[in-house]
């Protein structure tokens, strides 16, 4: 018994030592950039893929000469396991390690905790202020009630996305009956509420024939839900489902031979394209995004091809990741120092021409990036496919940034 205890103790010490070494400070003349997202657990697939995006972008920036005439950016990854509490721990670690800019993408619950924590930290510690650039969370509250000077959102919020979807639905005269099905948590509930509001606003003639909420990531068999959708006579479905919830829903629809159009927010996330192909829903599943692989634009096409080669055919997803890094670099170079307040003041109100040549604006009032969106359907017969299915995204509508400028209730207190 004693032998096994001391063996365990030795083992723990060795493991602790091995884990501690990467955290030791590396080169001094770098600007640390932190990435906090789930790198383990069930959400790790999204976190890891996002990390690849940033690693690729930072490497490109550094190989092009870095910032401020030669300083390299150093990307440090932190695993928050998808949990808000753990995120605060990791954020503190990031700040302690000297990071000046924090990127985060997965989870509005995480984002709300993080933005609150960083706002308080920056207020109490004027010498170690950090900026928070989010590239994923869609909760409108982040740029409304919970806005603050230190947070910048590069992804369109869920209200804007639904607005774009319904705008497209407005131009579909055959659409008569809509079914809403969502996951029963804050995001799903906000999708449902906003969809109702926007449908009433833009197409009051459409009947909402069903409004379903199901527990998050608990349902294995969606066949009963498909039966309900069919029984309601719906010809279209709006859903904010993602991950297995969306894949299984669409598979069940394909199995049952349900003839309906699917309007999704997250149709492009890992696994869903495969499910759409398996369900045989050619051109019937739509998503709303700021970019997809078949959007014309040489720079992103080249980047996507290069990224796929490097990461074994896993395609680029987040245009906003590139936009955020590009705009950050421009802001740092403009003010000549990696100081949170100065860079922040340069970032807000910045107009930029993003990688597909579209004009975007980081709005000053709420730090929300205003960008155009595409509604795309997953179909056969497109040049670039997803997940080796042979099918890919095809733009069916372009919604310009000018019609996607939400109002905001943000009242921001600015530093000094």
């Amino acid at each position: 018994m004693t032998n096994s205890i001391s063996f365990i103790r030795r083992g723990l010490l060795i493991t602790a030592g091995l884990l501690a070494s990467p955290i030791m400070a590396l080169a001094q003349d770098t600007i640390k950039v932190a990435y906090i997202d789930p790198l383990s657990g069930s959400a790790a697939v999204t976190g890891e893929h996002g990390a690849r995006h940033f690693r690729y972008l930072i490497d490109k920036v550094n190989s092009a000469g870095g910032v401020l005439g030669g300083k390299k950016l150093e990307l440090v990854l932190f695993d928050n396991k998808g949990a808000p509490q753990e995120t605060l721990v990791q954020a503190q670690k990031a700040i302690d390690s000297g990071a000046k800019f924090i990127f985060q993408g997965f989870g509005s619950n995480v984002a709300l905790a993080l933005t609150d924590f960083l706002a308080k930290h920056n207020e109490r510690n004027p010498n170690s202020r950090v900026l928070y650039l989010s590239y994923g969370p869609m909760d409108p509250a982040l740029t409304n009630e919970k806005c603050n000077f230190w947070h910048y959102r590069f992804e369109s919020d869920s209200n804007v996305k639904i607005s774009a979807l319904v705008e497209f639905m407005k131009s579909q005269p055959a659409l008569k009956n809509v079914y809403l099905i969502n996951q029963d948590y804050s995001f799903g509930q906000s999708v449902r509420a906003e969809a109702r509001k926007k449908l009433l606003d833009k197409r009051p003639d459409i009947n909402i024939v069903g409004d379903e909420l199901h527990p998050l990531l608990k349902v294995n068999d969606f066949a009963p839900y498909i039966a309900k959708i069919r029984a309601s006579g719906a010809d279209s479905v709006i859903t904010g489902n993602w991950g297995a919830d969306l894949s299984l829903l669409l598979k069940a629809a394909g199995d049952a031979g349900l003839k309906a159009q699917w309007y999704t927010i997250y149709g492009g996330l890992a696994g869903s394209p495969t499910a759409i192909k398996q369900a045989g829903l050619d051109g019937q599943v739509f998503q709303v995004v700021n970019w997809h692989a078949n959007v014309p634009g040489a720079e992103m096409q080249v980047l996507n091809a290069d990224f796929r080669k490097q990461y074994n055919e896993q395609g680029w997803w987040y245009l906003q990741a590139k936009t955020s890094v590009d705009m950050l670099v421009q802001a740092i170079n403009k003010v000549g120092i990696a100081d949170a307040v100065k860079v922040g003041l340069a970032l807000e109100g910045m107009r930029y021409k993003n990688a597909i040549g579209a004009d975007v604006l980081m709005r000053k009032e709420d730090h929300q990036l205003i960008q155009g969106l595409y509604v795309a359907s997953f179909s056969s017969g497109v040049p670039i496919d997803e997940e080796r299915t042979g099918w890919g995204w095809k733009t069916v509508a372009t919604i310009p940034a000018s019609s996607l400028t939400p109002t905001t209730t943000c009242r921001m207190t600015r530093p000094e």
């Binding site: 697939v45 294995n220 009963p224 039966a227 299984l248 598979k251 199995d255 049952a256 031979g257």
Partner: protein, 316 residues
């Protein structure tokens, strides 16, 4: 209405039988060795991934045959070289061992196949609608799943009750020491049961993989439900496991069609109730929203009123 009933019954049965396929192995292992095998759902996931990989090289049917065999052998080896040594340290040690094993298997799967769901395809031979009622088609693959699960149940049932090996296994369930005194190799029986139980989990994975999403967290998705099935059905009883899995499958499927909440019932009965704010969400939740929670509710009720389970024969 009748469309809903027919399809809900079919879906409920098929879902329940899939649960049974998974739970049958677990209930055998649980009742035989008192070991709560946390890694059972992970073996199911391994079966799905192995089925996927082998089907990519040698076709779906070869994968369906080989994947359970491989998982079964792995299970037997786990018992022989792992559990048997941990057994003498008590139940808690066994639990921790299988718990750690579950993590290990999941990380192994991630290392080999990555985190992104893999495309485990239904074979073309089975990819057609088996029949179409009232304009809803029922896929042939689900019928196949139904038939295989049924066949496994019958095979297990007859093997356990009619064959000599089955009788020895059944005896070892309750009187291992006596059976050992009678000259049978009880450790070998244990290993075989663990192996067969694991093979059943692997088979469930290989079959369910194309229908569900084959991804690294599929074990966590189905895992808790398994224990509900086993405890609800009663330890040591295969028929109990079948009944409880069918019950759970049907209840959950039919509940999803229930678009009414407690407040609707109260309103229908003409009562207007003033529910305090704290309970309002529960009051207004529809049966459909609660459907995935119902199995756990059944578990709690069963443990209160009949802890031995539906057909349990052991008191632990």
């Amino acid at each position: 209405m009748s469309e809903l009933i027919v399809f809900s019954t079919l879906n409920g049965l098929q879902y329940g039988l899939l649960l049974f396929l998974l739970a049958s192995g677990l209930t055998l292992i649980f009742s035989m060795m008192g070991v709560l095998n946390f890694a059972h759902a992970s073996l199911y996931m391994l079966g799905a991934y192995l089925g996927y990989q082998i089907s990519r090289w040698l076709g779906f049917w070869v994968g369906l045959l080989l994947a359970p065999l491989i998982v079964g052998v792995m299970g037997a080896l786990i018992e022989r070289f792992g559990l048997r040594h941990v057994h003498r340290h008590g139940h808690v040690a066994e639990l921790l061992f299988t718990f750690g094993l579950a993590y290990l298997i999941e990380e192994m799967v991630v290392m080999i196949w990555g985190r992104i769901p893999v495309s485990y395809q239904i074979p073309n031979m089975l990819d057609f609608p088996a029949f179409t009622l009232w304009s809803t088609s029922y896929p042939a693959y689900r019928v196949f799943m139904l038939l295989v699960s049924m066949a496994i149940f019958l095979g297990l049932f007859f093997a356990l009750t009619r064959s000599r090996i089955g009788l020895i296994v059944q005896a070892s369930l309750t009187q291992p020491k006596m059976v050992s005194m009678l000259g049978h190799n009880v450790p070998l029986v244990f290993m075989a049961v663990f192996g067969v139980g694991s093979a059943l989990a692997g088979l469930a994975g290989a079959i369910a993989g194309p229908a569900l999403v084959t991804q690294p967290n599929m074990a966590a998705h189905l895992g808790p439900l398994l224990f509900v099935v086993v405890v609800l059905g009663g330890l040591g009883s295969l028929t109990g496991a079948l009944m409880s899995s069918l019950l759970i499958g049907l209840v959950q499927t039919f509940a999803i069609a229930g678009d009414f909440s407690l407040s609707d019932i109260a309103r229908g009965a003409g009562l207007s109730m003033n529910v305090p704010e704290v309970l309002s969400e529960l009051w207004n939740a529809t049966l459909a929203q609660l459907a995935p929670v119902l199995p756990y509710l059944l578990l709690v009720l069963m443990l209160i009123f009949r802890p031995a389970g539906l057909m349990g024969s052991r008191e632990s």
